[in-house]
């Protein structure tokens, strides 16, 4: 990742951290979602953008995290313990499952990863004693923070902190041998195998990383909203939106994923506020317009000031 991109990310994060000073509880709620969306988009980018495997498993990770963490929280565990434990568990599970699933390519991998989310949702639904099934899971309110603004600030900073951790790890991956290997795999997997890249290992690691922070975000989310149901946390939109965000920002670019997430959230909020009956249609229209006219995302503005510093002439992200 270029130094310019890094500075832009730092600037964005810094701006975000100032939100509690200027906004009330509602603004903080939006800010928390902004960080959460960014975590989802950046994580997806590891498997979808860097490795080139179009994963629809984000919803599976999020739901798994929300429920595993939620059950621990409901059982009395602290947020920190639940988050870390769930993260580790998800990483291992994603890695192992990835070894099998990542043998598929293209559409097949996409469908397979989507099916995992569906199966997990129904399994969660069926395990009524453990998860409450269709009746949902209650997570008790934290007794520490009582006021509305206090709780909002607490969760805002936690999600923001998780975003920073995610970015550190992902940028680290980009610069490491793993990142290099993933980029090779993305371009030509058999060639990568031939030059000695252990593609199964790398892909599975990438899949694991694409899941761990999403699951941790799920845990925080469960603690934040206090009540979760399978159709809510395994919602397919949690798989589709990060993809749109990453495409919006520029496929393969971590900075793009962050910018895409923020912009997407802003558009979504704006549309939701102002167009009661049409908002899903307008969102669809935005997606269509984006993909037809701006296929390389925000980072690809060739002639603009921003673009020159972020891409090479042929439109490939400089990251």
């Amino acid at each position: 990742m270029s130094r310019k991109s890094l500075w832009i990310i730092v600037a964005l994060l810094g701006l975000l951290s100032l939100l509690p000073l200027v906004g009330g509880a509602y603004a903080l709620r939006i800010g928390t979602f902004a960080s959460m969306y960014a975590i989802l988009a950046v994580s997806w980018n590891v498997i979808g953008g860097m490795a080139g495997y179009p994963s629809f498993a984000t919803a599976a990770f999020f739901g798994l995290g929300a429920y595993a963490g939620g059950i621990m929280l409901a059982g009395g565990a602290s947020l920190a313990v639940a988050t870390v434990a769930t993260g580790l568990m998800t990483f291992v599970a994603a890695f192992i499952f990835g070894v099998i699933l990542l043998r598929l390519k293209g559409h097949y991998f996409a469908i397979g990863s989507l099916a995992v989310a569906e199966v997990l949702r129904e399994l969660t639904n069926a395990a009524t004693e453990l998860t409450g099934g269709g009746m949902g899971l209650n997570i008790p309110m934290s007794s520490v923070v009582k006021s509305v603004v206090g709780e909002a600030q607490f969760f805002f900073y936690i999600m923001w902190a998780l975003l920073i951790v995610t970015l550190i790890v992902v940028i680290g991956i980009e610069r490491s041998k793993l990142g290099f290997g993933l980029r090779c795999i993305c371009q030509n997997e058999s060639a990568a195998d031939m030059i000695g890249v252990n593609s199964t290992l790398y892909k599975s690691l990438a899949f694991g990383f694409s899941g761990v922070f999403v699951a941790m975000a799920g845990v925080i989310y469960a603690g934040w909203v206090h009540y979760i149901e399978p159709p809510d946390v395994y919602d397919i939109l949690y798989s589709v939106k990060p993809i749109v965000m990453a495409l919006l920002g520029g496929l393969g670019s971590t900075l793009g994923a962050v910018m895409g997430a923020f912009l997407f959230l802003a558009i979504e909020e704006f549309v939701w506020r102002n167009l009661l009956d049409l908002h899903t249609g307008v969102l669809g229209l935005l997606i269509v317009v984006l993909l037809l006219f701006l296929p390389k995302g925000l980072v690809s503005f060739g002639s603009s000031w921003l673009g020159k510093r972020l891409v090479w002439r042929n439109g490939v992200p400089r990251d």
């Binding site: 293209g106 469908i111 589709v240 993809i243 899903t280 229209l285 997606i287 993909l291 037809l292």
Partner: protein, 288 residues
């Protein structure tokens, strides 16, 4: 007796699934595009059937005759105007694009018809048949026969018409077809048109059986996915086999594991097939 009844139910259901999936399979196999709007097209077809019957008294089997060309035209235009632009783009782009278009379609139908479930009630209603101790509802039987006929018609078109053979050629080897002088863009548009027409017709048939609402689109799409993977992409026999397999498995599975697990079962099957036999039951042999 229960076993035989369950099996029959599964087979009848399976033919409906095959009809739902045939058009989807064609588009996925030939254009390598997953058309998320497929479920929406089916629901739109159902609405047309419902409107024709309740407002104008036209029976669903006649509605089929004008739904097919209408939806073909719409599909053709969509492919020509929008999807052909991104046909060379990665899988992700086309998938997300059709997802966005489906959001628009869904919102449109929601505004036009509201989310209330409508039902096409034939009067007089079709009864049930009792064959050797097994009950078979006539409307499902009729829908099954028509679904199979439609699928067969598609198969014949693919096999015996010039356009059909061109579509198969593109499916087998795109570059070779290009070299042979096939207008790929036109073929893509025709194939997508066929897919849309099949979806619309499937919708007309399903209107006889299921309640109609934009909210059902997702469920139909999910079935289409599973059938395609089970049966093999781009082939009509594959869609039929996949559909029957899914129908029977769901029916039997609901008895053995309980009805709450039917969705889990179909998606688990999907995953197993993807891992062990991604080309489906018929695989490459299913091209015809």
């Amino acid at each position: 007796m229960l076993a035989l009844q369950v099996l029959t139910n599964g087979l009848v259901l399976g033919c409906l699934y095959a009809c739902i999936a045939a058009g989807f399979s064609l588009v996925w196999g030939v254009l390598n595009v997953i058309n998320i709007m497929h479920g929406g097209f089916i629901v739109a077809g159902s609405y047309v059937a419902w409107l024709s019957y309740s407002r104008m008294g036209i029976d669903p089997w006649f509605t089929l005759f004008f739904v097919a060309p209408l939806f073909f035209g719409i599909g053709y235009l969509i492919q020509r105007g929008i999807l052909n632009r991104v046909i060379a783009a990665p899988v992700l782009v086309t998938l997300t694009l059709t997802f966005g278009m489906d959001l628009i379609l869904n919102n449109g139908m929601l505004i036009a018809f509201s989310a209330d479930y409508r039902k096409l009630l034939l009067s007089p209603p079709l009864e049930t048949l009792l064959l050797a101790g097994i009950v078979v509802p006539v409307d499902r039987l009729l829908a099954m026969v028509l679904a199979l006929s439609l699928t067969l018609a598609l198969y014949l078109i693919l096999r015996h018409s010039r356009v059909g053979r061109a579509i198969i050629a593109v499916r087998m080897d795109r570059d070779a077809s290009l070299l042979m002088g096939v207008d790929i863009k036109k073929i893509y548009s025709v194939a997508f048109g066929f897919g849309a027409a099949m979806a619309g017709c499937a919708g007309v048939l399903l209107a006889l059986i299921f309640p109609i609402s934009p909210l059902s689109a997702g469920a139909y799409l999910g079935k289409a996915f599973v059938v395609c993977v089970l049966g093999g992409l781009g082939s009509v026999p594959g869609a039929i086999l996949g559909g029957l397999f899914l129908g029977v498995t769901e029916s039997v599975g609901a008895v053995v594991f309980g009805p709450e697990h039917s969705v889990t079962l179909s998606f688990s099957l999907l995953i197993v097939f993807l891992i062990l036999r991604p080309q489906g039951i018929l695989g490459k042999k299913g091209y015809e």
